[in-house]
Amino acid sequence: MTNEEILSKLKEAFPDVAIQVQTEETKDFTLIVPAERLVDVATHLRDHLGFDYLSDVTSVDYPDRFEVVYHLFSMKRGGGVLTLKVHLPDKEHPEVDSVTPIWPGANYQEREVYDLMGISFRNHPDLRRIMLWDGFPGHPLRKDFENRLYTYKELEPTRPKPPNW
């Protein structure tokens, strides 16, 4: 299935959703989906277009927005990557629907995005920090996180909390 076919089939299925193709600055075929319709588009991609394998969930912090990036492949067909992107212009409280109900393999990766980038996922079954401890101040992968500011005073409230199981 070529990229044009994927795009036309998606447009056919979702005539009301503004699906854009990112043409500049990317080496892969990239679609930008509105955040509120992400789950619908992702379910359609999995069930009808054969993208059954979610390889990677990650996020990028740009000056004007957060981006959550999904890399999809097809295990049945093989072939190249389909990059799915969601723009989150709200820098204060970025939030997007979780795709863990669609691909359970997204679980830990979304927790990692939540931990290190501070983007929360609605409907995630177990949204906790994964790498850092509970009570760590801030989210290190954000560009405004200044790691040189570590002082003893600031480390004080970051001591691990008692276990929460």
Binding site: E25, T26, K27, D28, D52, Y53, L54, S55, D56, T58, V60, D61, V69, H71, F73, M75, G78, G79, G80, V81, T83, W103, P104, G105, A106, N107, Y108, Q109, E112, L116, R129, I130, M131, L132, W133, P140, L141, F145, N147, W165
Partner: protein
């Protein structure tokens, strides 16, 4: 009526069978697992953040430390990603050297995976000693080429760090039959072991559809019967020029994963034989500036690392430092099905199942 209640215990982070600092919170009913929660982060070093303040080439040694058993594969994946981002061509000889190194790394990893699986089962260090003996010979080759045994830092964007020394290929040629014999030996001594079979057959079953849904990759996926290998599905480097198969198993249990690793070692040796025959003379690297400035853009590239799909997602803003440096670790994502594999089994089987997934904690926590 007996009154029973479940108990919660910690396995790890200091536990010999967790292959590093990894903690599992087990909820037990008697000795049966009813819930399992993996806990990560004891080895988190923030490599993604650190690499954002380094240049593209300075980040290569960090990739060695992701999965320290397979440093060459990690270098390879990162180099492929940078080359895709910056549009760098690689000379043919360098591609052959890379394939040789990647397949040797796969042999090293699978040897250790098989050896330590038996360690977890209680065959205390006897199979591992033999695996280590062969691994040492391969590490000698790595040292010959790169100067380091484990943290090789050898495959760089644009090619490799130095040409192969003159005695490398003759020695590798001598070693290939020896390694083939080693795989045969493992099969002969271990595959039909009754104790091993009693502990491994039917334990940790993972059905194929669940493996795909949980984004499992590598030998664990193929042991469940899904014929998917990045080297065939989306060939990178020169893997489309080699003649090899993608072995699969049907059973999807611990025993199938063990057999899968042995089969993959055979295929790696097949690739090595062809590569040693066909490696051409020529340049070993294209010149890449030390302060490489890729054009503004982003790229995702992946390779079939020994543990599964290893990907790198790089975003460049045109400056010498990457804007975003993301590593897709195979070990962490293969762990996402650990709970499903373990439910209903006994505590002792958790050790076996974890050993059969084959994780490196440095790759899980990064």
């Amino acid at each position: 009526m007996l009154k029973t209640e479940t108990i919660t215990i910690n396995m790890g982070p200091q536990h010999p069978s967790t292959h590093g600092v990894f903690r599992m919170v087990l909820t037990l009913n008697g000795e049966t697992i009813v819930d399992l929660k993996p806990m990560f982060g004891y080895l988190h070093r923030g490599l993604e953040k650190t690499s954002e303040s380094r240049t593209y080439l300075q980040a290569v040694p960090f990739t060695d430390r992701l999965d320290y058993i397979c440093s060459m594969s990690n270098n390879f994946a990162y180099a492929v990603a940078v080359e895709k981002l910056a549009g760098i061509e690689v000379p043919l000889r360098a591609e052959y050297i890379r394939v040789i190194m990647a397949e040797l790394t796969r042999l090293v990893n699978h040897m250790l995976a098989v050896g330590f699986l038996f360690n977890d089962l209680g065959a205390w260090y006897t199979p591992v000693v033999y695996a280590f003996r062969e691994r040492e010979r391969i590490l000698d080759l790595f040292e010959m080429a790169s100067g380091s045994r484990m943290m090789c830092n050898y495959i760089r964007p644009g090619g490799v760090a130095a040409d192969l020394p003159a005695e490398f290929l003759p020695q590798l040629r001598k070693m290939i039959p020896h390694l083939e014999n080693f795989v045969r030996e493992i099969r002969f001594y271990l595959s039909d072991n009754e104790i091993f079979k009693a502990r491994a057959v039917g334990v940790g079953f993972l059905p194929a559809d669940m493996a795909v849904a949980y984004s499992i990759t590598g030998p664990v996926l193929r042991a469940s019967g899904v014929k998917y290998d990045v080297r065939k599905a989306e060939p990178y480097s020169i893997y489309d020029q080699f003649d090899f198969d993608v072995p699969t198993q049907v059973a999807g249990d611990v025993y199938a994963r063990y057999l899968q690793r042995l089969d993959e070692m055979d295929e790696s040796l097949k690739i090595l034989r062809q590569a040693v025959e066909r490696i051409p003379e020529g340049e070993y690297a294209t010149k890449v500036p030390s302060r490489l400035r890729p054009p503004k853009g982003e790229a995702y590239a992946r390779i079939e690392a020994p543990k599964g799909e290893l990907g790198f997602y790089l975003v460049s803003d045109g400056s010498p430092n990457p804007y975003r440096w993301r590593n897709r670790p195979p070990s962490l994502i293969n762990l996402s099905a650990l709970r499903e594999m373990c439910l209903g089994h006994k505590v002792a089987d958790v050790v076996t199942i974890l050993g059969s997934i084959d994780i490196t904690l440095a790759d899980v926590d990064r």
